[in-house]
Point group: C2
Chain length 707, copies 2
């Protein structure tokens, strides 16, 4: 943040480096190498800092720097600049503030640490290694960025228990952290401070704060007064293209103050200033932003303070000189035993706190419930609640929009599953995501279980990832299906991390009518179905909706989308035994004799297929109808089941969306009745007719094909 | 913005309405209807305003209100609240400030007006109708939200020449406007102030400002000092879920000031205050935000100031009472002749200015060039520049990453096509989007043609849409392919509006290597291919890259994605005649005899397919290789061409991405060699081997299938 460069305490201003000090990732880009004539004013500040006596804190930070330098050199790729710049701040955090126990990185009441600037992954790996955590040995660090190493290019959730979330796509970690801090408050309201009382710390860079998601997340955190959230902003004035002044002149502190955050400037290389700021943050009644003025690539003799240290190895000469400037004269990957012992002591710093917590847990009246929720096991009552709903649905055969059927499922589930926390991106009434009697979370009051996320789809989805990652919460959202696009980067990460988050996406086709093509998903289903590990359900009536909700809640290892209709749909299912949606697709109505045609539909088009079947049967054409609510689950069935369902007769796919991907089920001889492009603004019935998605059109297509 | 409610000049504070005054769109949601007991403090402020003498401005604004009320009633759906609330501000803008001529809504030097809060579309349609613009007659308004009416649910670009952009997905219009304001500055720098000197005005609501894209767009506009951009913020304290205080407590003025904007509060119902503020904005040296405090649904006796007026018809009783409160006693859809005459005079207000401009254009030395650029016709030199490159490429057969080949294409194109304006979301060196000798745009200096967009992918893509819509600019961007997800809502709108924007998306597969699964697109190609009207190219060598660039630049009626490799790829094309990529797919190498297998690949996998072919031929298996750089164009060929290319032998698809959608080309008997899930962090060669995407794997698959 160039406008703030001069205002940092204790450091001379870090002036803009010159344009052209570009990204060095690639040898092909030699033309972008820094000019040898370009002045680099960060170097004077660095020299002053290096001239100071070496303290214990500096030496601990240097261990991070040395490991980052060595690992990136060895991998011949990676991002040394951030770990080198933020090593001092991270050292203060991990040795004095962060509540964690290296012996149990999954201790539920640990502070969460999120490296939102995920490219600086070596900072995190160095900390995990130095604090003595299992599973991140020096051999793992030596294999930084190699196949099967837990030290992946960016922190990957699941590779090590100390990695709280997958980061790299900028801004996501910050928004995850907002969700984690919110989850902490929700669980503290439920289980009390004796079990749940921890903070969330984030390191975020300029890139994170330039991303739009940072606005949504920070605005929401400020609104909700998530006072136990602290962002250490690596205010190093450098992004990949060069000095931040190339593209970024925000007054970030003022911006966050406008969100209701408490903000403070910090000298990012001064342990005393860092500690004072973190203490101040710990006592804040608002979320806190600490803008840590740092020199990226600190200690590198020519590349410090430039984009040249951001995203590529320093090179052997510069690497050696950097270590020499630090007075670090150990062989690569070696940390002296004494220094390791200091770090390992830091890793045990909260061991007593954890033991006390375990004692409190042992005698806590809600112990079992707490452990159940944290482990992600559903309560006993959950299944019965849905079973009752399914019996009622079978009796009543209600003609409901599936979004309303979804509300009924929620009315059964939410009271029975206290870890379900709902919300909507300002479409509560349209998404039918709220349940009577469930209060909303309000600023500073977390006794509720419904979040008014505001018009912040992306922040919502990423905060939900953070809530799921935190544990103890099953978050579900609401918005229109077409706005899945706004959430897509976060949905992708939920799929990559296999987190149980559930998105209730209503208004799932041209059936929404008058709002027109901007609001009508046509390619959205295909776009979501393409994401690995994501289950996309499109139920066709109230019974299927209840079944899909059951599968979504039960699905502990991945995210779910429920695509739901705005318009009413007649019931076609009255059986309550097997959850038929669990196989992804099934025969709703078999043909009376050998099939001449199989109509395969999802959601609102199943009813249309059944109407077409009636007409075809009247003309003597033996027709089966298949409901295909979930491609992912259907694809997971064995081939014989799939063939039996789809049959060998003429296959007709029917979906009020484009046919992208449908060839998988229809084969080369199939027919698709659906959209071929974007929708239009008109009442729904007019649109179905206009775009030829009607029972008549299906009948005509079958008859034409059968000759 | 609840915190600001008390600070608005001249109006009593609009206190929060109660939670539960939810969205009324649907009769099913009766439970969310406002409680009859809920106090509504906006009504007192409204009463005071209605008690004032009716001025000419008020009466003109009332015409907007009446048309909005009537159209929404007639359609039985729509959003009356915003037009009723912002009618006064719009009247001041259209009668005193906006430079436009109703006789020529496409006059290039008109001010741009963007209704970012697109749900309030009736505001725009009323203005188009009242100012006497052709193509928005009262019969069109009567058919608001009906099939084929230009008065669609949300403003749709192309439905009327006075609609500058398609809006509805919140925040997009604001970001489009940033692009329009930037385009104006770029063209002014190129053609001078005598031809290009206009402002961009936006109406945006709370929803627009909650969206993350508003951060990216406003931060960029502040950075670049786009002083001719003014946002009228409809600060009505209401979103769909109810009072903004439910989810939103930003100090928006402070936030925009932090971006470098000039900000001011305005009484949104006081024509004098509005005019003073717009005058002030017109003279600002920074972009301006005017926070217009308004009462949503102004004049509605019970629903004003509540979410109840936001998204559904007032209902006949409330509608009649609202008109009565205004003293508007004309039949539905009728506007008295005198009032119409006043409005039509406003529509002619700048006719003289336009005539003067036309005279200046006639004698302007750059007239032809200006007209050519505005019309979107390419300069004569463009094709030759690429033809020369293709000849060189054929001679040199360079082994290049396609991102580097793309840079070479840009080095040929950008000097020849002065309307091409490039940029990158902070990955200039990686995306290879900059061209030597082309200066960057810097704050307040628009002589450059390269934009450092910062880490703002979404804002970049939406600003590019605005630049294309403005006319005279062909924008191209750069980021990593996987981050297309961050831009997806804007890419969708480019496709819907058929705008020529070009996205250079590099690092297009696991071939990017160590950065790992967060950065490796696997489903991204499928997700993009699913978007109607979007051309996705994935060229396989330098020649194909040049051909795809030719097609992208020539494509005047839609957006293009170029998916490009990080890693070097051997040349396989040396012919320079026909642009073979123009057919989307073609045979690179035919089998020597009747085909036994056809290997179908794109991008980096074409080379792999050729290697596999060599091995297969050595074993006597007659194999053809097909390059499939663009599905959209291939699908547009006639069936006989497609069959000829794909052949009837075993089809093997090869792409370092998931196979979603590939069944279209492979049929039920085909084989796909590619990814089945997310990638991993390791050097590229290790990954291709790990995931089994190798020539050996292809050979094995073919041999296994052929027995």
């Amino acid at each position: 943040m160039a406008t703030a460069a001069g205002a940092s305490a204790g450091l001379p201003p870090v002036a803009p480096s010159l344009i052209g000090r570009g990204h060095q990732e690639d040898p092909l880009l030699a033309s972008l190498a820094p000019s040898p004539d370009a002045p680099n004013p960060a170097l004077a500040a660095q020299a002053a800092l290096l001239a100071r006596p070496v303290t214990e804190e500096r030496r601990m930070a240097d261990a991070i720097r040395a490991l980052a330098i060595d690992a990136v050199e060895q991998a011949k790729s990676g991002h040394p600049g951030m770990p080198m710049g933020m090593a001092d701040a991270a050292t203060t955090l991990f040795t004095k503030f962060l509540k964690f126990d290296a012996a149990d990185p999954r201790w539920p009441d640990r502070d969460r640490f999120v490296l939102s600037a995920g490219h600086g992954s070596m900072l995190l790996y160095a900390l995990l290694n130095l604090t003595g955590q299992e599973g991140m040995g020096i051999d793992d660090i030596k294999r930084f960025r190699q196949l099967h190493s837990p030290a992946a290019g960016h922190p990957e959730y699941g590779e090590h228990p100390g990695i709280e979330t997958t980061t790299g796509p900028l801004g996501q970690g910050l928004a995850n952290a907002v969700g984690m801090a919110l989850a902490e408050r929700l669980l503290a309201a439920r289980f009390g401070k004796s079990l749940v009382d921890h903070r969330t710390w984030v390191i975020a860079g300029d890139g994170c704060l330039q991303e739009g998601i940072s606005h949504e997340a920070a605005s929401l955190a400020g609104h909700l007064q998530l006072s136990k959230l602290t962002v250490l902003y690596d205010d190093n004035s450098i992004t990949i293209d060069g000095d931040t002044a190339l593209s970024f002149t925000d007054d970030t502190l003022k911006r966050f103050a406008a969100y209701g955050w408490a903000v403070r400037r910090v000298d990012g290389h001064d342990p005393a200033d860092l500690a004072a700021a973190m203490l101040w943050a710990s006592r804040s009644r608002r979320p806190t932003l600490l803008a840590c003025k740092t020199i990226i690539g600190f200690s590198a003799p020519t590349k410090a303070g430039t984009a040249g240290s951001h995203g590529s190895p320093l090179g052997p000469t510069e690497a050696a000189a950097a270590k020499s400037a630090l007075g670090w004269n150990h062989p690569p990957f070696e940390v002296p035993d004494g220094l390791r012992a200091q770090w390992e002591a830091a890793g045990r710093r909260s061991a007593g706190t954890r033991r006390s917590w375990l004692k409190r847990l042992t005698r806590h009246p809600q112990r079992e419930e707490f452990e159940r929720a944290i482990a992600g096991r559903l309560p006993n009552a959950w299944h019965e609640a849905l079973a009752t709903l399914r019996i009622q649905t079978a009796e009543q055969k209600p003609k409901l929009a599936t979004r309303v059927a979804s509300q009924k499922a929620l009315e059964a589930l939410v009271p029975a599953v206290p870890e379900m926390v709902g919300g909507s991106a300002d479409l509560t009434g349209s998404n039918n995501t709220n349940v009577k009697g469930i209060p909303a979370v309000t600023p500073g009051n977390f006794a509720g279980r419904y979040i008014h996320y505001g018009v912040r789809e992306h922040g919502m989805a990423a905060a939900m990832n953070g809530m799921a990652l935190h544990g103890g919460i099953i978050p579900y959202s609401g918005t229109f299906l077409v706005f899945a696009d706004y959430m897509r980067p976060a949905i992708r990460l939920a799929a990559l991390m296999r987190q149980r988050v559930i998105h209730v996406l209503t208004h799932d086709s041209i059936g929404l009518g008058e709002d027109g093509p901007t609001h009508q998903p046509v390619e959205t289903l295909a776009g979501l179905r393409a994401i690995p590990n994501l289950c996309v359900f499109r139920p066709g009536d109230a019974m299927e909706t209840a079944e899909c909700w059951e599968l979504a809640v039960k699905r502990a290892d991945g995210p779910t989308v429920l695509a739901l209709s705005r318009q009413n749909l007649a019931a076609f299912r009255t059986d309550t035994g097997e959850n038929r949606c669990a196989r992804g697709g099934y025969v709703v109505e078999e043909a009376p004799g050998p099939r001449q045609a199989t109509l395969i539909a999802s959601g609102s088009e199943v009813g249309l297929a059944l109407a077409a079947r009636t007409a075809l049967e009247a003309e003597g054409i033996a027709t089966a109808v298949v409901s295909l609510p979930c491609w992912e689950l259907f694809a997971a069935q064995d081939a014989s089941y799939r063939e039996q369902v789809l049959g060998s007769a003429l296959r007709v796919g029917i979906e009020a969306a484009t046919g992208f991907g449908w060839e998988r089920w229809l084969g080369p001889d199939g027919v698709f009745v659906g959209m071929t492009g974007f929708g239009a603004s008109a009442p729904a019935e007019a649109l179905f007719k206009h775009f030829g998605i009607t029972a008549e059109a299906v009948v005509a297509a079958v008859k034409k094909r059968l000759g």
